[in-house]
Symmetry: C2
Subunit: 1016 residues, 2 copies
Amino acid sequence: MGIVSLLGVVLLLGILCAESKYMVYNTSSGIDAGKINVHLVPHTHGDVGWLKTVDQYYVGSNNSIQGACVQNVLDSILPALLADKNRKFIYVEQAFFQRWWRDQSELIQSIVKKLVSSGQLEFINGGMCMHDEAVTHYIDMIDQTTLGQRFIKEEFGVTPRIGWQIDPFGHSAVQAYLLGAEVGFDSFFFGRIDYQDRIKRKKEKSLEVIWRGSKSLGSSAQIFAGAFPQNYEPPRGFYFEVNDDSPIVQDDIDLFDYNVQDRVNDFVAAAIAQANVTRTNHIMWTMGTDFKYQYALTWFRNMDKLIHYVNKVGFELYSTPSIYTDAKYAMSKSWPLKTDDYFPYADRANAYWTGYFTSRPALKRYVRTMSGYHLAARQLEFFKGRSDSGPNTDSLADALAIAQHHDAVTGTEKQHVANDYAKRLSIGYAEAEKVVASSLACLADSNSFIGCGDSTTNFQQCPLLNITYCPASETDLSDGKKLIVVVYNSLGWKREDVIRFPVVNEDVIVHDSEGRKIESQLVPTVDAYVDLRNYYVRAYLGSNPNAVPKYWLAFTVSVLPLGFSTYIISTSQRTGAGSTKSAIYKFQRDERSAVEVGEGNLKLTFAVPQANLINYINSRNLVKESVEQSFSFYIGYNGSLDKEPQNSGAYIFRPNGTYLIKPEQASLTVIQGPLIHEVHQQINPWIFQTTRLYKEKEHVEVEFIVGPVPIDDGFGKEVVTQITTSLDNSKTFYTDSNGRDFIKRIRDFRTDWDLEVNQPFAGNYYPINLGIYIQDSEKEFSVLVDRSIGGSSIVDGQIELMLHRRLLLDDSRGVAEALNETVCVRDDCRGLAVQGKYYYRIDPLGEGAKWRRSFGQQIYSPLLLAFAEEDGDNWMSSHIPTFSGIDDSYTLPDNIAVITLQELDDGKTLLRLAHLFEIGENSVLSVVTSVELKKLFPGKKIAKVTEVSLSANQEREEMEKKRLVWKVEGSSGENPKVVRGGPLDPKKLVVELAPMEIRTFFIEFDHTSFKRKFDA
Amino acid sequence: MGIVSLLGVVLLLGILCAESKYMVYNTSSGIDAGKINVHLVPHTHGDVGWLKTVDQYYVGSNNSIQGACVQNVLDSILPALLADKNRKFIYVEQAFFQRWWRDQSELIQSIVKKLVSSGQLEFINGGMCMHDEAVTHYIDMIDQTTLGQRFIKEEFGVTPRIGWQIDPFGHSAVQAYLLGAEVGFDSFFFGRIDYQDRIKRKKEKSLEVIWRGSKSLGSSAQIFAGAFPQNYEPPRGFYFEVNDDSPIVQDDIDLFDYNVQDRVNDFVAAAIAQANVTRTNHIMWTMGTDFKYQYALTWFRNMDKLIHYVNKVGFELYSTPSIYTDAKYAMSKSWPLKTDDYFPYADRANAYWTGYFTSRPALKRYVRTMSGYHLAARQLEFFKGRSDSGPNTDSLADALAIAQHHDAVTGTEKQHVANDYAKRLSIGYAEAEKVVASSLACLADSNSFIGCGDSTTNFQQCPLLNITYCPASETDLSDGKKLIVVVYNSLGWKREDVIRFPVVNEDVIVHDSEGRKIESQLVPTVDAYVDLRNYYVRAYLGSNPNAVPKYWLAFTVSVLPLGFSTYIISTSQRTGAGSTKSAIYKFQRDERSAVEVGEGNLKLTFAVPQANLINYINSRNLVKESVEQSFSFYIGYNGSLDKEPQNSGAYIFRPNGTYLIKPEQASLTVIQGPLIHEVHQQINPWIFQTTRLYKEKEHVEVEFIVGPVPIDDGFGKEVVTQITTSLDNSKTFYTDSNGRDFIKRIRDFRTDWDLEVNQPFAGNYYPINLGIYIQDSEKEFSVLVDRSIGGSSIVDGQIELMLHRRLLLDDSRGVAEALNETVCVRDDCRGLAVQGKYYYRIDPLGEGAKWRRSFGQQIYSPLLLAFAEEDGDNWMSSHIPTFSGIDDSYTLPDNIAVITLQELDDGKTLLRLAHLFEIGENSVLSVVTSVELKKLFPGKKIAKVTEVSLSANQEREEMEKKRLVWKVEGSSGENPKVVRGGPLDPKKLVVELAPMEIRTFFIEFDHTSFKRKFDA
């Protein structure tokens, strides 16, 4: 067997690894206050998927695409660290580390633990991946960070101290304050900021700042943040990977080419250059880059020598960002203040990394859909009780975590890697779907007090509902069979909403759990979706779907917080007793001048000749606004012949002209019924749009199909929609940061420097996860989105969203593929069509936030539909038809959301509560608000509540004690007071949340098994 | 300090290295008689200089040219071997290993020793480099092998068992029998044989043979020799270096892309394919290639898995060539017989690797010159007593060893690497020059019995004598100063020869040590050399030489075996008393029809109108022959537009037409004097030729300057000379193998297969180190060379030598440079001019060998000249003027040479005696001959003589005992009896040598210090 058993050899081997040179290098230098201290930080950066998949990177396969093998890094780093206790290494991406860890013997694991506890090996960042900061949702960021950091805590008992987002393409306020300060990080480092910003900051020595990312939490959530002066690589000439061509330090005088003095001179010159743009006499060299240290000794061998020889004339040491941060902190200096964020990012003129805000919009939507589903599935898993052996939500959590990587949801990965992310999500979903189905079955089954194992109900769900495909609902009920629909609401508020699904029968009737007939509407399915359904079902499932059902059935449901309701669909005996069929009107260009739609307070007017939206009226709040909406596309710039080539591509948005898409068939189809009005527009052969109004809602829902974007003219295209109002927003607009805080944007302007405008479109794009709004002295116009997307206000009064991108050239940032997504059924490939929704609404000034925040939660957490069939008539009597996971008497305050309710693998319950409003955002809701924990867990006795850090890897109290108190330049020295929820009273168990506050708790119950409140 | 001191960590570390996987792979498989056994031989091949210099390869610098770092290989192999005792590795090139070894601590050294003694790490080949086999001299091959193998013996106590010449470009008979069997190797493996040969051998399963390289030594020096079926790399798809793109074995079922079955299938398919061309059920996979195993674990990780999984269906094991050889031997099969050699090598049609036989002719000459000098210097070092602290001959030995590498003396390295070899030789020479000078001073100084430390004579030598540059002799003697010339003869025979050096005085007179005036001749220096001298002295020494002396002084010297004589040059008081000035005649085209030159038995006739040699007459042996001599060049083929491109280049000779060089100035200058006649011909502006006859010699000496070869026409050129006789040699000619055995060559024919001729010139070229000859029923026509060179007999009666090559295209074998040598003085660069000599003679059939062998030794070991100045008149009285290192009464037999006389660093003396004749080569000299050892060491008492293997790393008797006795197909089973010298009688100490035998001895003396025979 492959194990050396001779103790002698083992003993010798230890020293072999420890002492591999006859020359002994002095690497023990500490900090010298009087000199420039160069902190050498040995690091590797592992993209959790990019050119290769995460597994390919880990095992080192597919090297023809990119030579990279994380296994090599982790294997080789250990002997290198053991050989010299002064050597250090930081490791970041837990998705890789966990793959490695589970392959290691206990002995190796114990060695690694020693290296971690000694500080030689330090975990930095600690999430599963180095998530993107533009197109990620804060809940996903928290979840993936928690997943990685809790693993570190459990295995090693340590808490990463440093945020290390060296590669993401711009940096968000939420990252700084929420995933930084609130995670307990002492500092936060990154590599990419705007090139103009960088120049100014280098000149002013303001690369390192105190960053207050949140207006609401201010100095209570600030962090020391450092942008690197160049990138996250070593200075030129100090790359020491196997086969790298930097000059090695050749100090063997018996050989030719001895070069110690040259190398020392190079080192000192590079150090002085960096010291000249850095405050204090501490500078950091990031000694590593993507996937380096495959044979770690090559780096340490050279760094050992540099430290040894440079120290004879200077000043350098093996370090980590923690040591560096402590050294900076020890200087007791004041630092410049930074607010807002570092978006958009341009690495040079005409190279704005704002394309990726939209790249791969279908993947972005899949990630967002799964994110909301994951939240709901975890709630249901909690109610049923977690199964460690599965099915459980772990694989979906893993897949989602990986998908947050800055080359995943960003759309900047190769196509095969994008497929890999989707596959992982799909596998994770399939397992979570089982958890959801069995939990609902368990909760609904009135016999479930004997346990859930024998629940017989097999709930079906419909992940492809967006393309009008739902086999579970497309069942023929004409023989008396009934369709049971269980509707789960993962929000903490009672909720009324219209749900829809396709049905094959025309004479269906809907009853609620009390046996009451519910008003329902049959909305005709649309031709434009027939092709989507047929093609994509074949592409994704490999089988042909049944004939397209003629109708969507829509009706209003009402569901309790964290609960479900049950509805029964059957065919009606009497004609006309069932659903109302929608009326259908087709308007051709010449028929009449305008048509108004809307059954409730909100009405829209379309001009028929132009087939255009022209007017918006809310009769309740008297908002009236002329609104137009149009589609355009940008031509992707082809810079291949330029002196400084820069194409538009997966990362970079560089338009070459805007082209308005004039509707080719200027016709409107209007669908009207008691619940829903719709206006269908075939804008051109590859854009179809539905404008939808709900009787009970005061926003417009726009559903679009864009694609396949034609490329037969040889041009890549980036498709946008513009919604134009008359609001005078004076160049100002607001976009959210990771779905949370809204940040003020001013067109052609940056707060931190005098912007030189070279890309008036691309340079004004910002990421949108929740929404974008503009306002003037009277109104605010808000648009909310169903996924991350790029957008702007390029013209006053107008909001622009980029919906899809199909490009034919690579933009030279490494992915080496054009962003030209196709979908294939065998050899028949088409450009990817994207289906999605956005929502807009115009409010009187000051009233928009309420809708943005509460409806934003609904978009993120749509009602979850589960279907079952029943032959008999006794569902309601044999099942529990309605349920709420919280106390019947309770609902969460309107400004609070449960963003995590999860049973952890150690049996504890993880609860996160989020205040949804910023200070000043809403006169009523932007206040400190209380939540009664006891009401959240009816039927359970809370034994202990521990408030923990955001990522749940340390007690909050400990974290606050350790927090470094940085001084801000120009301030009195005292940090301004900020409102925060007070400490939790262990008896009352009432949690206070101040605006934008998120509080995280471990909750332990008296009984390990869940006791249903109905049994209490 | 960089040493971990915690025992605990060390302990853990050992196991870390040993057990780096939770999965444990079974790598312990042995041989299975019933199955195909795949011997996986993990190996790396380190070129001791090629694209980078040896030191750059070792430390891993200059990686922009080639990613390669031998230090990484040796560092990383140790933990990999320690981790699994079944893993094995072979290491070859000691030039690299020694660099690494001296950097290691004693502890590491002790670990390596354990790995070696356990067989996990096995030294193969064991020379300093993997020497070339075409253009190397057998003495250099022996020396470099001895240097490496004795190091291995001293440090590890082991003797390499296997010849491993996997990369050289064809394989020589001398390698097989001398550097193989006589070194004690059990087998010999190589990668490159002619593509046509390979096809046939694969079909006939005759890649593995018993090779008898020597006609004379026959089965007594045969070896099991295996050519690989493809190259020395793994089968396609089994490359596992860091970043290699072969599919790794992915056996982690928790990750995507599990591929064990695919990889096992690939493995089995490749194994079966190889088994189908191999005898027995053992096949070898060479798992590695150039500079691989930089991170050894990447290979072993995958091989572990292959062994583990394939063994579940098959048959494979970690192995070494030794284990493989033993397995083959154990099968007791008979093997095909192979004689002669494997030259020339073509890797495909039109790709004959016969260009490198001549590439870099100046470097080749430098190496050969240094080789002869090294032999002499070691003798003188022995006489004086070796100094371990130097100066000694070690650095020259090292430089020479490295220069034998198959990308060194071959000329197939990049220019900067060629420069590096030359630099090393130059440094080594400079030190050896000191050894020579001080030894001569010591021996000549009559007071030296008190030790040599205070010898005051400062002997100067003239390494640039070939370009008429010798500052030591160019001293003005007109003021009565005297020039002392000490002439050392490193041959074992007394020797009379004409020496020459430039002098500035016209009226010089030469006296021998007895005070007798010696006849001397002043030969005018030649204009063609003025430019050479001036340019190259500036290029090489950086300084301007003095004015060119007008004369060479030539006179005949007589020197004892391994001894010296002293001559004194002074100016003559009387006019005419000194040297005879040569008469000079210039013949223009129209003057007369012919001119005859030659003062002795040999006379040549030149036709004046054509300025051509036309006739050769030896009046002693009555040989008369019409002889013509001409120059031509081939145009180097430019295949860049061909479907299968193949240029002529450093490796490959691919001519595109032959062009005769017609003398432009058809003039002859004839120089005549009492000792020497010369005919000077300026063939064209860039070829100058001197045809030289010595009164006392019966051969023609031709001295040429070729270059700078013009390239302004855009064509590369390969310059040849042809000497044409009327001999009817019937396509047959003979060339030497590494300066030793002559091998019969037949034009357009191969012994081993039916040759398909596609390159009638290049495909008939063979390497020449000593000489080439043709014969018919009456005469033999022999040409001897001063360096390795390519040549052939393309036309019956004619011998062709390639003298220089200047090419403008690379030939796609990796060097990626055109062979376009230039020499620069600052920014003024010119094509390299080559100066050299060859010698020819026509003998009656059967009488040529005597001259070829004995004069060949003189070419290899020219008389060594050392100069001193003396103001006074008492040199002879205050010095010992003549010396012989052997007994005054003794001389070596005419057929025996001392090829090594060296004091080793352990105080022993290494003596090698070589029989110079093959069986049947000469009726008198091709016989068993005796040498009296006692006579070789006058004044010393031999305490012990131990016969050892050729490379002096084991006792000969032990070696013979271990020798494997292979069976040859079709023979009776008994190997034919061969004549060998008998065992050494320890009392008589008379050594018998049979034809072609070389015997090697350790000699130990009673006294450690050398006692001069004069003092005895």
